[in-house]
Symmetry: C2
Subunit: 343 residues, 2 copies
DNA sequence: TCTGTATGTGAGACCGTTCCCACACACTTA
DNA sequence: TAAGTGTGTGGGAACGGTCTCACATACAGA
């Protein structure tokens, strides 16, 4: 049942200008005409055509979310998925619709598509190549980056205070009496992993706790499988080192490593304490639940959209967003105390 | 840099009809003109305006995905998120863009929005109220339902063979020698949970294994927290019953229940074997990993989109899709054998 | 009576495409 | 030579809205 303004006008015996006026509420319309038109709209279930509107207003009220992942598109990712959810909610509350697309690295196909669809703005999540940025910037569409791989000058970028989070991890482990700490660091290609490690190291140095380079393992992906595999491959080394604790720069790696240790009948946290980073849902659900640094993913999504909205509306004096403050969440993997629930 | 066909035409010294012909490849164009136009397009980074195209073709090449959730929008859901991912990939491969929206029950806001945006079709995921169906059907937009709460006549509905899966669970547990089986059943409002339970019960009866109504617990949500809480609340009852195994109608509930039992130092699977349903990523990662029935979520997404595409293209003789075949995945929670990896 | 302002309405240009139609020219072929 | 056919091009309507402008009427105040 596709109806048009013209049809409504015809049936109401008025011009389409008048119908348009009734709908938009702008300009004068007599009560009589207004009621008649409104009634027809209700009766015919008329819905304004957003495509036609976009045509004249030069604004689609659509935004695009681009998620770049190594090999596969991942909207269901425990970290990025949360951000996406927040964007979806915020956007909807401000009457924006959201295109979600994923793309491989180096591919401009999705970006291209979004340009053709004339989105009002773009949110770029995760690792994003310089060529994509250039491409989008060149086209002149407002965009915001979330948790990107690097900081780029002049680009609005929503990030967490990763360095501070790393510092908190070191502090917590030191507080719990740990001096022999093992680390699995996520991909060096990613900004956040590097900063987390940096903050962690600095704080150890501050506290006078030695941290030899032999205590650190470099992961090539930030996945559960990678954590599991690395722990398995270096298990003898780990045991020989007399380590009492493990820090992985994200939860997935930490959980993978933990799973392997549990299979070796290691008691966590009694024999080895474990700390992750992100606080994905899964961290609280795992047994034992994982101590971690909570990254406010929801807030990242909200901020990303709000900022984009401002850019779209060209509000003056947009200041670069403040980095989000992380929180230490202590759970069973570093401390045996209470039973925690979640869901 | 927003360029139009008109501009290209002007610069090339031809009419916009000619430019349009070059772009679409339809009709005759001289090699000379073609090259010149193509060069200009490249030079000016011209991108055809999909909005204008949609205007005339009456086809946006956009589809909408509606996810209905109890309280909060959840694209990052371990089950629905996977389906969404598959839809996103398949749609992209066929040059469709996807609007993703979530809505509360009973709300037509998102549906309304999609109608205004003139999507070519809709995919409705999860619980969906009759009024929403009616509303959409009334508007005449093609749509496909995925894992909906009920079967509705005449609606294309992608589902898993849930009853068969339930049967497989009973068979597996019986095979492993279990006779005292406890069950936590997901919300009765949802089709799949009911069918899983039904298949399970039927198979037990078939095998002559008694299953008193006291062995079943009714969950009100299908979440981790609910599983944990129910197990906690009925722990004494469970112990007294002498149960050797637990079946929950989805993984999240199973994992929650497992987490509680692990905290009570129950050895899984030695003392209690556990089986879930869905095979969300998390099931393989948990320690111990969870035996479950694998639902091919990716295939659900692919089928949903493919079917929708056919509906949109009005292909004749569309047959109702076959139900997807589930697979039993045996892991540590019912059997101690090998070390399994995943990631 | 004239001018000004508030109220109400319709005509038509415009947004950026596609596509139908008319037309022009160069060759065949009857 | 006339009639076709293949090739190449431009004009302009149409898609469904918004918005500016012109115009009409009513009523106020000077």
């Amino acid at each position: 049942m596709e109806h048009t303004i013209k049809e409504i006008a015809l049936r109401a015996g008025v011009s389409k200008s008048t119908v348009s006026r009734v709908i938009s509420g702008k300009g004068y319309t007599s009560l009589e005409v207004r009621n008649k038109v409104l009634q027809l709209i209700e009766e015919l279930q008329y819905k304004p055509n957003a495509v036609a509107r976009a045509m004249v207003s030069q604004r689609t009220h659509n935004i695009g979310v681009l998620i770049y992942r190594r090999h596969h598109p991942i909207a269901s990712h425990p970290f990025y998925g949360k951000i996406l959810d927040a964007i979806l909610m915020t956007a909807a509350s401000m009457s924006y619709s959201v295109f979600v697309t994923t793309d491989h690295e180096m591919s401009l196909r999705s970006a291209d598509f979004m340009m053709e669809k004339r989105v009002d703005g773009l949110i770029l999540i995760s690792r994003l190549q310089q060529n994509v940025i250039d491409y989008i910037a060149n086209f002149g569409v407002p965009y915001v980056m979330v948790n990107g791989s690097t900081d780029v000058d002049g680009v609005m970028h929503i990030v967490n205070q990763d360095e501070e989070g790393g510092r908190m991890v070191a502090e917590h482990l030191a507080d719990m009496g740990h001096r022999q700490i093992f680390v699995i660091a996520g991909p060096q290609t990613h900004r956040s992993h590097n900063l987390r490690l940096k903050g962690f190291k600095n704080q150890l140095k501050e506290l006078g706790i030695p941290f030899p380079s032999s205590s650190i393992l470099q992961a090539s992906t930030s996945t559960f499988g990678e954590g599991y595999e690395l722990m398995r491959a270096h298990w003898e080394e780990f045991r020989a080192g007399g380590y009492t604790s493990l820090f992985a720069t994200n939860d997935m790696i930490a959980l993978g490593a933990m799973k392997f240790m549990l299979e070796q009948s290691v008691r966590i946290p009694e024999q080895v304490a474990v700390v992750g980073f992100d606080d994905i849902d899964f961290a609280a659900m795992f047994s034992p639940s994982l101590t971690t640094i909570r990254v406010n993913m929801e807030e990242m999504g909200i901020q990303a959209f709000s900022l984009l909205d401002k850019l779209i509306r060209q509000e003056a004096y947009i200041e670069h967003p403040k980095q989000l403050v992380p929180i230490l969440v202590v759970r069973q993997s570093t401390q045996t105390f209470s039973i925690e629930r979640s869901g």
